[in-house]
C-alpha cells in the first residue's frame, strides 16, 4: 500500500453534504474487474453532460462546466474538501479507487461514513476529520483563493494553510502507523496465525455449529 506522510496540494471545495458512493462512482463502472482506471469516471453524473459507458474512452465527452472539478485549478486538486457524512451508502471500494485514480491523496470533512472511512486507509487515501467550523474556514479560504495549496501532515496530525492556522486532527494510532509505513495488512495479520488457529480450535469445541468447513 502507498504510504502517507505529508502531502501538499490544491484543495477543491465540494460543497454538498451526504455525498454518496453512488455519486462518487456510478454503478455502471463497477463492472470492471480491475482496481485501476476509475479516475475518468469519478463523479461521472455530475462531471459530464452526456452519458458514458464502462470501458469506453471519456476524452470526447462533454464536461459540465458547473462542476467544481472541471474548473481550473480544481481539476488538478489532490485534496478534496467536503461536508458531513462523506462517502455514505454502498460499501464499494471503487469509490476510493476512483478518488485515488483522479489524483486525490486526502479528503477533509466534518464526518465520514464508516465503510468509506475504513476503505480509504486500505488504499493510502487519508480521510481527515475536522470540526465543522474548521471545515467552514477551509471552504472560505479555498473559495477566496482558488489554487491555494494546503498541507496535510499525518506525522504531526495537522492541516496547515499558508499564513493561516494549523488545524489538529485525531486519528487512531494503529491506523496512523499502518498508513505512515504503508504496511501490508494481511502480512501483519498472518503474524497472528497461531492465535487464529487456537481461537478456531476453542470455538469448534464451544460452538461447533459456527465453524463449518
Amino acid at each position: 500500500m502507498q504510504a502517507f506522510t505529508v502531502h501538499r496540494g490544491i484543495a477543491a471545495p465540494l460543497d454538498r453534504a451526504n455525498v454518496d458512493t453512488d455519486a462518487i462512482i456510478p454503478k455502471q463502472y463497477l463492472k470492471s474487474i480491475k482496481r485501476t482506471g476509475f479516475g475518468p469516471n469519478a463523479f461521472d453524473d455530475w462531471r459530464y453532460l452526456d452519458p458514458g459507458q464502462p470501458d469506453a474512452d471519456n476524452s470526447g465527452r462533454r464536461p459540465n462546466p458547473e462542476f467544481v472539478l472541471n474548473q481550473p485549478p480544481f481539476d488538478r486538486a489532490t485534496i478534496l474538501l467536503a461536508r458531513e457524512n462523506f462517502g455514505c451508502g454502498s460499501s464499494r471500494e471503487h469509490a476510493v479507487w476512483a478518488l485515488g485514480d483522479f489524483g486525490f491523496r486526502a479528503v477533509i470533512a466534518p464526518s465520514f461514513a464508516d465503510i468509506f472511512f475504513s476503505n480509504s486507509f486500505k488504499n493510502g487515501l487519508l480521510p481527515v476529520v475536522l470540526a465543522e467550523n474548521a471545515v467552514d474556514e477551509l471552504f472560505r479560504r479555498v473559495q477566496a483563493e482558488p489554487g491555494l495549496e494546503i498541507e496535510v501532515d499525518l506525522q504531526t496530525q495537522e492541516v496547515r494553510v499558508p499564513g493561516g492556522p494549523a488545524f489538529r486532527f485525531e486519528i487512531d494510532s494503529d491506523r496512523r502507523r499502518r498508513l505512515l509505513e504503508g504496511l501490508d495488512d494481511i502480512a501483519l495479520t498472518l503474524q497472528h496465525a497461531d492465535e487464529i488457529r487456537a481461537y478456531e480450535e476453542r470455538r469448534r469445541r464451544e460452538a461447533p455449529w459456527l465453524i463449518v468447513g
Partner: protein, 469 residues
C-alpha cells in the same frame, strides 16, 4: 458493573487478539461473496500466492448483474458477463460453495444467507456489500466491508476492527394496521438522519420490533446502513429460533438444541448501558414515502413535500433545494399527488415471501393504472419465487398487469438491464433514493411493498386502505 449489550456479547465472543489501543482482530464466521466486490480480492490473493483460510466459510452467488428475464439467453452485456464469469472461475479455483445463476437457490445474497441457514444467530457475518446489516435480524453481528477487507477475510478469516459505540433504537407500542418494518426503519432514519448512526452499532428493540416477523426485522436491519450504522441487530427470541430450525445449512438434532440454548443468551442484559438511546412511539408511525435524494428525506404518505425555506441550516436547505430540483417536485405538493411512471417491488430490503404476499394482497382483483408504464416484481431468490408461485401470487400480479421476473438485485441499483430512464419516477421498495441510483436521471421514492402496490394500482401514492374497489 452494568450488564452486556447484545453487541458486547457478539464482539467479545469473536476477539482473537487485542492491541493496547483497543484495535481488535475479530474472527469472521461467515463470508458471503458476490460478483461485484470480489474480483479484485481474489486477484490480490492469487498475486500474493495465498489461499482462502477457511473456504467453508464462503457462500458465493451472482446477484447484481444477472438478468431478470430470459436467463436461457445468458447475460447480454459483455462487461456484466465477464464479471459473473470471473466469480465462476474464482469459486472453481478455490473450491468454494456457489449457487450459479440458473440454480433454484440463486438469489440476492442477503436473501439466500438466512434462507439457507448459512447465516445463524451468534455469527459474525461479512460481505463486500453494505446491506450485510440485514443478517443482524437473526442476532448476528453482520456488516459490510470493502474489497480490501474481502481479500483480508479470505486470507486470514479475520478483520481488524475498532469497537463501535452502541445505540438502542426502541420502538414501543402498537403499530397501526398496514404499517410495516419498512415504514418503521424509514421513520427511524427520518428521526436520526443518514449520519445519525455513524460510528454506532444499532440494536433495534421494543415491543413493536419484537412484534415483527424475522423477515420484517430483516427489512429494518437492512437499512441500518441508511442511518449510517454498519451493523443493525435484533435480540434472539423464539421466533428467531423457529425461523432457523430446519434450514438446509442449520445444525440439526441434538446440535440444534445445543445451539438454540446458546442463542437464547443473545439478548442485551436488562441492566446493559447503551451510549445512545432513541425512542419512537410505534402508534405514531404512518406509512412512509421518501420525497428527496437521501433516505432521511422522508414524510408520511398523508404529508406534503417540505419547504427548504423553512430549514435553518444553510447546507441542509441547499441540499433540499437540489433534491427538489433533481426530483422535479415543488415544496408543498401533497405526497398523494405524486404519480410514479414505474413501480419496482424487490431488492434485499423487500423481496421475501412476506413482502410479496403483502403486495399481492393489495393488488388482488385490481389492475395496474394505465399511467404506470411498468410494474415489476423481482423475487429475492429462486426459492422465494417458487414459494410465491405455489401460492398463486404470480397469477395475482400477472393478471393485474405486473411483470413477474427472475431473482436478483435488478432495479435497486440498475447494474443489469432493469433501470429508469432519465426523468422517470419510480415507487420502489428498495433502500436508496440517491441521484442516479436506479438509472441516470431516475427519480426514486422509497416505500413499503404495500404502498408500492397501491401506487401501481392508483397511479399515485395512497394508503392501501383508501383504495377504491
Amino acid at each position: 458493573m452494568s450488564g452486556k449489550t447484545l453487541y458486547d456479547k457478539l464482539w467479545q465472543a469473536h476477539v482473537v487478539h487485542e492491541e493496547p489501543d483497543g484495535t481488535t482482530l475479530l474472527y469472521i464466521d461467515r463470508h458471503l461473496v458476490h460478483e461485484v466486490t470480489s474480483p479484485q480480492a481474489f486477484e490480490g490473493l492469487r498475486l500474493a500466492g495465498r489461499k482462502p483460510w477457511r473456504g467453508g466459510s464462503v457462500l458465493a452467488v451472482p446477484d447484481h448483474n444477472v438478468p431478470t428475464e430470459r436467463r436461457d439467453l445468458g447475460i447480454a452485456d459483455p462487461v456484466s458477463r465477464t464479471q459473473v464469469e470471473t466469480l465462476e472461475h474464482n469459486v472453481a479455483e478455490y473450491g468454494l460453495r456457489f449457487f450459479p445463476m440458473r440454480d433454484l437457490r440463486q438469489g440476492i445474497v442477503h436473501v439466500i444467507g438466512p434462507e439457507q441457514g448459512a447465516t445463524l444467530p451468534g455469527m459474525t457475518v461479512v460481505c463486500g456489500d453494505s446491506h450485510t446489516s440485514t443478517h443482524g435480524a437473526l442476532g448476528a453481528l453482520a456488516f459490510g466491508i470493502g474489497t480490501s477487507e474481502v481479500e483480508h477475510v479470505l486470507a486470514t478469516q479475520c478483520l481488524w476492527q475498532s469497537r463501535s459505540q452502541s445505540m438502542l433504537v426502541r420502538v414501543d407500542g402498537e403499530l397501526r394496521p398496514g404499517v410495516t418494518g419498512k415504514d418503521i426503519v424509514l421513520a427511524i432514519i427520518g428521526a436520526i438522519g443518514t449520519a445519525g448512526g455513524n460510528g454506532y452499532a444499532i440494536e433495534f428493540g421494543g415491543s413493536a420490533i419484537r412484534s415483527l416477523s424475522i423477515e420484517g426485522r430483516m427489512t429494518v436491519c437492512n437499512m441500518a446502513i441508511e442511518a449510517g450504522a454498519r451493523a443493525g441487530m435484533v435480540a434472539v427470541d423464539e421466533k428467531t429460533i423457529e425461523y432457523v430450525r430446519g434450514r438446509p445449512q442449520a445444525p440439526t438434532g441434538e446440535l440444534f438444541e445445543q445451539a438454540a440454548a446458546a442463542w437464547r443468551d443473545l439478548v442485551s442484559d436488562p441492566d446493559a448501558r447503551f451510549d445512545r438511546v432513541v425512542e419512537l412511539d410505534a402508534a405514531g408511525i404512518e406509512p412512509q414515502v421518501t420525497w428527496g435524494t437521501s433516505p432521511e428525506m422522508v414524510v408520511p404518505v398523508s404529508g406534503r413535500v417540505p419547504d427548504p425555506a423553512r430549514e435553518r441550516d444553510p447546507v441542509r436547505a441547499e441540499g433540499m433545494r437540489r433534491a427538489l430540483s433533481y426530483m422535479g417536485l415543488q415544496a408543498g405538493t401533497p405526497i398523494a399527488a405524486i404519480r410514479p411512471d414505474k413501480v419496482f417491488i424487490g431488492s434485499c430490503t423487500n423481496s421475501r415471501i412476506e413482502d410479496l404476499r403483502e403486495a399481492a394482497a393489495v393488488v388482488r382483483g385490481r389492475r395496474k393504472a394505465d399511467s404506470v408504464k411498468l410494474a415489476m416484481v423481482v423475487p429475492g431468490s429462486g426459492l422465494v419465487k417458487q414459494q410465491a408461485e405455489a401460492e398463486g401470487l404470480d397469477r395475482v400480479f400477472l393478471e393485474a398487469g405486473f411483470e413477474w421476473r427472475e431473482p436478483g438485485c435488478s432495479m435497486c441499483l440498475a447494474m443489469n438491464a432493469d433501470r429508469l430512464e432519465s426523468g422517470e419516477r419510480c415507487a420502489s421498495t428498495s433502500n436508496r433514493n440517491f441521484e442516479g441510483r436506479q438509472g441516470q436521471g431516475g427519480r426514486t421514492h422509497l416505500v413499503s411493498p404495500a404502498l408500492a402496490a397501491a401506487a401501481a394500482v392508483a397511479g399515485h401514492f395512497v394508503e392501501p386502505a383508501q383504495l377504491e374497489g
